[in-house]
């Protein structure tokens, strides 16, 4: 009887050890709010709404595109992508942040309207000879029961306020601010298909 209790205890010990080992190996599973751990981004968000929108540095080009990807007959994604491209110099640690107009909540089912690459743990460097650009996107869920026109869509998503922060070859950190109105947005051809339906 004593032997069987010892066997059961030993088995339990082994199972516990295996469970602990599995969680230890999974390692980097850290539960962190990325806004909580990237306080500079909270500051960036505040600046987006208050900054004097200065002229960009001219060392690269930006484009903000909008697409609608139909997932099934009922649901679609509204996809935004801000592309930083054609760098004329080496741009280190490129950080992109943009904020869709709050009125977009009328059409989108989302907990927030922020798009960012703050969650990337490795900094992104682009240059004329290496990576040629970076695209930062978010696919939002369009509310399924609401019908809207292209003009109504553009009316609620714009203006979109954005910032691109990067480090010059001399080590200086530069932040360029942008405001995209409805006419500044590049429409993906998927929009034509969606509204043709």
């Amino acid at each position: 009887m004593v032997t069987s209790w010892r066997a059961i205890s030993f088995s339990l010990l082994i199972v516990t050890a295996v469970v602990l080992l599995v969680f230890a190996v999974r390692g980097e599973r850290s539960i962190t709010s990325y806004y909580g751990t990237h306080e500079t981004h909270v500051e960036d968000l505040r600046r987006l709404n208050t900054a004097d929108h200065k002229n960009p540095s001219g060392a690269y080009k930006v484009a903000l595109s909008v697409a609608i990807r139909r997932i099934d007959p009922k649901y679609s994604h509204l996809v935004f992508e801000l592309l930083v491209k054609n760098p004329e110099v080496l741009m280190g640690n490129v950080r992109v942040l943009y904020l869709i107009s709050e009125r977009a909540h009328e059409l989108l089912s989302a907990s927030s309207l922020v798009v960012s690459n703050a969650m990337a743990e490795m900094p992104t460097t682009i240059s004329p000879t290496g990576l040629l650009g970076i695209g930062v996107s978010r696919a939002f869920v369009l509310r399924p029961v609401i019908e809207f026109t292209r003009m109504q869509l553009l009316g609620v998503i714009a203006p979109i306020r954005a910032s691109v922060t990067w480090v010059t070859p001399a080590g200086e950190t530069v932040t360029d601010y942008y405001v995209f109105g409805a006419s500044d947005l590049e429409m993906d051809e998927s929009m034509d298909d969606y509204f043709a339906d």
Binding site: R29, S111, L132, S137, A139, F140, D188, S190
Partner: protein
């Protein structure tokens, strides 16, 4: 005497809904590596729900609409975020205003995939993809005990007001 035509009578009750966003996305899990080596590795979404690196990167590539250059470094992460929804039980009081005497607050849990990869024209693409379940865009609803029962919410508000108790809040999370 000033007549208030909106006056429903002292002790009348009503239920008012509200919502507010959470504080951002909360990372659940992440993997980085060469795509062909890690594509079948599992990531935790929430609780016991799992997905794979391949699922995440494919969702991102589909959303972005740009194909992936094979065997580059990729990163895949899972996130959740919250949206809080609640209902207030209000009573028309002697002050001739609606006052909240009971609040029941629930929480919607959203799931997001985030991934980054290099596409064929040597651009790094990264995207957050909001999830599309069959019926709702949230994947779990942490309902407070009275949330789905408006008459109970009104009753609890009336009870607190009538017995001069404090305004109470109940949570589903």
């Amino acid at each position: 005497m000033i007549l208030n035509w909106d006056d429903p009578g002292v002790g009348a009750t009503k239920v008012v809904s509200y919502s507010m966003p959470g504080l951002g996305m909360i990372r659940q899990d992440q993997r980085s590596g060469i795509y062909s080596l890690i594509k079948d590795v599992s990531l935790i979404v929430i609780g016991l729900k799992l997905t794979t690196v391949q699922n995440i990167i494919m969702s991102v590539a589909q959303a972005v609409g740009a194909s992936m250059a094979i065997d580059h470094l990729v990163t895949a992460q899972t996130f959740i975020s919250y949206r809080y929804v609640g209902k207030e039980g209000q009573v028309w009081t002697e002050s001739l205003v609606w006052q909240t005497w009971f609040d029941t607050r629930s929480r919607e849990v959203y799931k997001h995939y985030w991934g980054t990869y290099v596409c064929h024209n040597n651009f790094q693409r990264q995207a957050t993809v909001d999830f599309l379940p069959p019926l709702h865009s949230w994947i779990r609803f942490d309902a407070s005990p009275s949330y789905h029962n408006d008459s109970l919410i009104a009753h609890r508000a009336f009870d607190n007001w009538f017995h001069k108790r404090a305004w109470t809040v109940e949570y589903g999370y």
